[in-house]
């Protein structure tokens, strides 16, 4: 393995990273005299957006991300900085996810797919395919790889296999403790090279509910998920009989466009601060859920197909990157803000661990007492040399001698007294509370 590659691998990536790419004004927009309302601060990862119809003194809205890219960014730089660490992890047997999110016309397709016949304009998807098979080609002969792909979409909360003949059949999300989340009965194809992969993806794209869309159409409700499963089996050097199998999964997710999302209500995420009002009572449940803190209470799942499928991606051991694309023109203001808001919230919708910490005040008290005891004993021991056997052991020994038992008894008495006074306090408290209960009804 070359030195350069090692450097890339040792660089530990954060579990969820969000980057935003701002495209320049296009010719049409310049001709139509649209103003540029968005600027980026590359150094600090900040995007600022000015409200085109706001008051002149209104400060621009700012959003901070892990990385921002402006119009000068190169496709390969973007790949190296965002997707490469994820694909590396997947090749090591971890799960990784790359999300693409953005309004139609903001360069999402350019970022993800790019221009296929111009090498330096290739996007994240072809670059990651090349990366995977490049890694396989360079690997040691004793290591075997199996690469399988699946492609499905979530449209109106229904899952459809984009590679199956029977593409109208609705599939279900299931979850097993040994393999994690999976879509039941989803077809998978073996890919032998990057070309295979691109062909399979193209085939699936044809089957998507709605293809390329103009703005203002409802079609952007379809999320498409291209999953690559890489299984690696190798024989260890010392023992040729032991086979090591690793499995990594890479999800490439084309999230439903941000346009008109509030009206379709199919965002698939429980976003607490959804900026607009839900019109229909059918979403009352989401509103009530937003009132539940959920730290110690139960929040029932709602419109969660996407969330369920990607639950590994948004927490735990897997690595995730979200690529959001935005346009700079004034007429994009609302959508740009909503995309940036969504992107900046991605980190918050991750599954956080809920660790149940029982307050251990009593234990800490005990601890303090023990420290005093230990101090006392150490002082005593220092005063009488040589130390008598076992004096340092706080614990009763299986075959302890007389003084040890006495100590146990002493402690016992003390303990008993303390317990009695505790008990007395508790009884008093109970009596008091009982009175209150009766009076209060």
């Amino acid at each position: 393995m070359s030195k350069v590659e090692q450097d890339v691998e040792t660089e530990e990536v954060e579990n969820v990273r969000v980057f935003v790419r701002l495209r320049p004004l296009n010719k049409k927009e310049i001709e139509a005299n649209y103003t540029n309302i968005a600027t980026v601060d590359l150094l600090n990862g900040i995007v600022s957006v000015k409200n085109p119809v706001g008051y002149s003194h209104e400060p621009p809205k700012t959003f901070t991300f892990d990385t921002v890219f402006d119009s000068d960014s190169k496709q390969l730089d973007i790949y190296n900085e965002t997707a490469r660490p994820i694909v590396d992890k997947v090749l090591l047997g971890f799960n990784g996810t790359i999300f693409a999110y953005g309004q139609t016309g903001t360069g999402k397709t350019f970022t993800m797919e790019g221009v296929n016949n111009v090498p330096e304009l290739k996007g994240i998807i072809p670059n990651s395919f090349a990366h995977i098979f490049g890694h396989i080609a360079k690997a040691d002969e004793s290591v075997k790889f199996l690469v399988r792909v699946s492609y499905f979409e979530i449209y109106n909360e229904e899952i459809r296999d984009l590679l199956s003949k029977n593409k109208d059949q609705c599939l279900e999300v299931k979850e097993r403790p040994d393999i994690g989340v999976y879509v039941k009965d989803l077809s998978a194809y073996i890919a032998n090279n990057a070309d295979d992969m691109e062909k399979i993806m193209a085939l699936g794209n044809k089957n998507r509910s709605v293809g390329a869309t103009a703005m203002n159409e409802v079609s952007s409700r379809s999320h498409a998920i291209f999953s690559i499963i890489i299984e690696t089996s190798s024989y260890s050097f010392e023992n040729a009989k032991t086979q090591h199998v690793k499995m990594g999964r890479l999800h490439l997710v084309d999230l439903a466009g941000s346009e008109r999302q509030s009206k379709t209500g199919a965002s698939g995420q429980r976003l607490k601060e959804a900026s607009k009002i839900n019109l229909s009572l059918s979403t009352l449940g989401n509103v009530i859920s937003a009132l539940v803190d959920g730290k110690c209470t139960h929040i029932p799942y709602r419109n969660s197909k996407l969330t369920r499928i990607l639950q590994d991606s948004l927490g735990g051991n897997s690595k995730t990157v979200m690529c959001a694309t935005v346009g700079p023109a004034s007429y994009n203001y609302e959508e740009t803000i909503s995309t940036l808001r969504y992107a900046s919230r991605v980190k918050n919708i991750c599954n956080k661990a809920r660790v149940n910490q029982d307050p251990k005040d009593a234990l800490l008290m005990k601890y303090q007492k023990e420290i005093l005891e230990l101090k006392r004993k150490l002082e005593e021991a220092a005063n009488e040399e040589p130390p008598p056997p076992d004096i340092l052991d706080e614990e009763p020994q299986p075959e302890s001698d007389e003084p040890e038992i006495e100590k146990v008894e002493d402690e016992h008495d003390e303990e008993l007294k303390r317990a009695q006074s505790d008990h007395q306090l508790m009884v008093e408290k109970l009596e008091l509370l009982q009175k209150k209960v009766l009076v209060g009804g």
């Binding site: 403790p177 110690c296 929040i299 340092l392």
Partner: protein
């Protein structure tokens, strides 16, 4: 066209209604607003037609107002928000001073609702809020007048809807629902909960709900109540949710004979709602037990007792619905006999939820339910007097959690595994403390007792170490420079507790004894070093950190003594 032609008016109106209600939802994605645009054209025609009316009756104004309202709604739907807003304002101008007449009230409330929505889209919450407030006021004033509202369609078609027309009531239910959302944006979640509660109550009253969805929403609302100590209300929400849920079963069975496909979808949904209601009930029990404990342990003064009171706004809420609440208390529990009742009911709910969420198809939910079972036992333990009994309950937690965690793949379910390792470490360590207390009371501990103590310590250590190791970088085998926010404290505690446990292992082997102390010392040093590098951790860990600092001073002396003993012995 200068004269009134009732038939033409009626037919035009009906065409518009069909376009909006029947055709529009069927429009293809490639042309989503086809029917709405058609309806808009017809509305324009209707508008002109009405304007040419000779007579200047109140009914004409009511009709014209309604046409402007519909135009506004379509404009907003088709992304012409400004045009929509203007239309709503024109509508309100036309019906000015006649808002509270039976002919205009429905249009009036709807127009204000829509204006509120327009301003909410612009995220101007206060203005939105004010418009919804106007809707509410007009609705209430009209209700006080005891008049019957006229359904606007009747004005055009002279058709009187069958049964009581509920348009106005449904509009007001929406107003409340929108107000609930405004309150969230204004940061008043309690007031929002009150609005949601009234919304649900009205849905029930006007029979405007789907039983599965409604009972799930009601159960979800119970969780808001729980977070605010409103146990009486939470219990009512859950009891009614369970009742409405249960009553739907025979309706579903009837559906089976008529529409097999619809039945299957509905039935699956119904089952999963049931499991969610069960989990909400279980949380009720768990939180009631936990809060009861906290209340018993709190300072005995009014101020600290107040924190166990629900906010006034939630105290007075109720739903007019006959329901049996006897299976669960809504008072804080004081004794074991009270606690065990709460425990049993909650446990029953969890077992039912667990059988719904099978391990093989709903792994995460299954795990969550089992974790909740463990926590329910944990909450009960406080009310158990004898230490031996307490240990028995802890043992059940161990059985549940150990069976569970061994089935999970660490790679895909690292979070669940870590949570369970931490909890298992804690349970073994709690049991150690209990057994140790028992041991201290016995004069001559048996070899068996000592072995048991060591066994508990070692198990606890195993889980804490598993947790700690899982955070190490797989390649460099190093601890992270910083733990994520939610893991920082548990991780430091795992180091801290492990250190303590290491010093508690009973052994006559001095070399081993020394090794354990050295390891413990390393743990304490690690914690101090971590807190030096991550200053913000100190705040969460102040007490423990000061203990670590003490131990770092004392342990080397203790180790020295043991070393001395080893040398004397040899």
């Amino acid at each position: 066209m200068t004269d009134e032609n009732p038939d033409e008016l009626s037919s035009l109106f009906q065409q518009i209604e069909t376009l909006i209600l029947v055709e529009a939802p069927k429009d293809p994605p490639s042309d989503p607003y086809r029917s709405k645009y058609k309806a808009k054209d017809l509305l324009e025609k209707l508008k002109v037609y009405l304007t040419l009316f000779k007579c200047d009756s109140e009914v004409k104004h009511a009709m014209l107002g309604h046409v402007w309202l519909q135009l506004g709604i379509i404009s907003v739907d088709t992304d012409e928000v400004q045009q929509g807003e203007d239309a709503f304002n024109t509508c309100l101008d036309i019906i000015k001073t006649k808002e509270l007449t039976p002919e205009c009230i429905v249009t009036c409330v709807s127009a204000y609702n829509n204006l509120g929505l327009v301003w909410s889209q612009r995220t101007e919450w206060q203005r939105a809020f004010d418009f919804f407030g106007k809707s509410e006021k007009y609705y209430k004033d009209f209700i006080d007048s005891h008049l019957e509202p006229v359904y606007p369609g009747t004005l055009f078609t002279s058709k009187i809807p069958e049964g009581k027309d509920l348009s106005l009531e449904k509009l007001y239910t929406l107003t409340l629902y929108y107000l609930a959302q405004c309150h969230i944006h204004q940061g008043d979640s309690i007031q929002s909960a009150v609005c949601c509660h009234t919304t649900l109550k009205r849905q029930l009253k006007f029979n405007d709900y789907h039983p599965s969805e409604w009972s799930l929403n009601m159960a979800t609302l119970s969780q808001v109540c729980l977070e605010n100590n409103a146990f009486h209300l939470a219990r009512e929400c859950l009891s009614i949710a369970s009742k409405v849920y249960g009553d739907y079963e025979p309706v579903l069975s009837n559906m089976k004979t008529n529409d097999e496909d619809k039945y299957q979808t509905e039935y699956d949904k119904w089952l999963s709602v049931g499991a969610d209601i069960d989990r909400c009930w279980a949380k009720y029990g768990l939180i009631l037990l936990t809060m009861s404990k906290e209340r018993l342990m709190s300072e005995d003064n009014q101020e600290s007792l107040n924190q166990f009171e629900p906010p006034d706004k939630l105290k007075a809420l109720f739903i007019e619905y006959e329901v049996d609440t006897s299976s669960m208390t809504d008072s804080f529990v004081l004794t074991y006999s009270d606690a065990i009742k709460v425990f049993n009911t909650s446990h029953k709910h969890l077992l039912r939820a667990r059988s719904h969420f099978s391990l093989s198809e709903h792994a995460t939910d299954h795990a969550r339910v089992v974790q909740e079972i463990s926590r329910l036992y944990q909450a009960l333990v406080f009310f158990v007097e004898s230490e031996a009994e307490q240990c028995k309950f802890h043992k059940r937690r161990i059985t549940e959690l150990e069976n569970l965690v061994k089935q999970f793949n660490k790679q895909f379910y690292i979070t669940i595994c870590r949570e369970i390792w931490y909890e298992l470490g804690e349970i073994y360590s709690d049991m150690y403390e209990l057994k140790h207390d028992i041991l201290r009371k016995t004069h001559q501990p048996s070899a068996h007792q000592v072995a048991k103590i060591n066994w508990l310590i070692k198990n606890s250590l195993t889980y804490y170490i598993e947790l700690i190791q899982s955070f190490k970088d797989a390649r460099t085998n190093e601890y992270p420079a910083k733990y994520s926010n939610e893991w920082e404290k548990p991780l430091l505690l795992a180091f801290f507790y492990s250190a303590r446990l290491l010093t508690k292992i009973i052994t006559n082997d001095k070399a081993q004894l020394k090794k354990n102390q050295v390891e413990a010392l390393d743990n304490y040093k690690y914690i101090i070093e971590y807190c030096t590098k991550n200053k913000e951790a100190v705040e969460k860990f102040a007490t423990e950190l000061s203990l670590c600092q003490e131990m770092v001073k004392l342990l080397p002396m203790k180790i020295e003594k043991i070393s001395a003993q080893i040398t004397t012995a040899t």
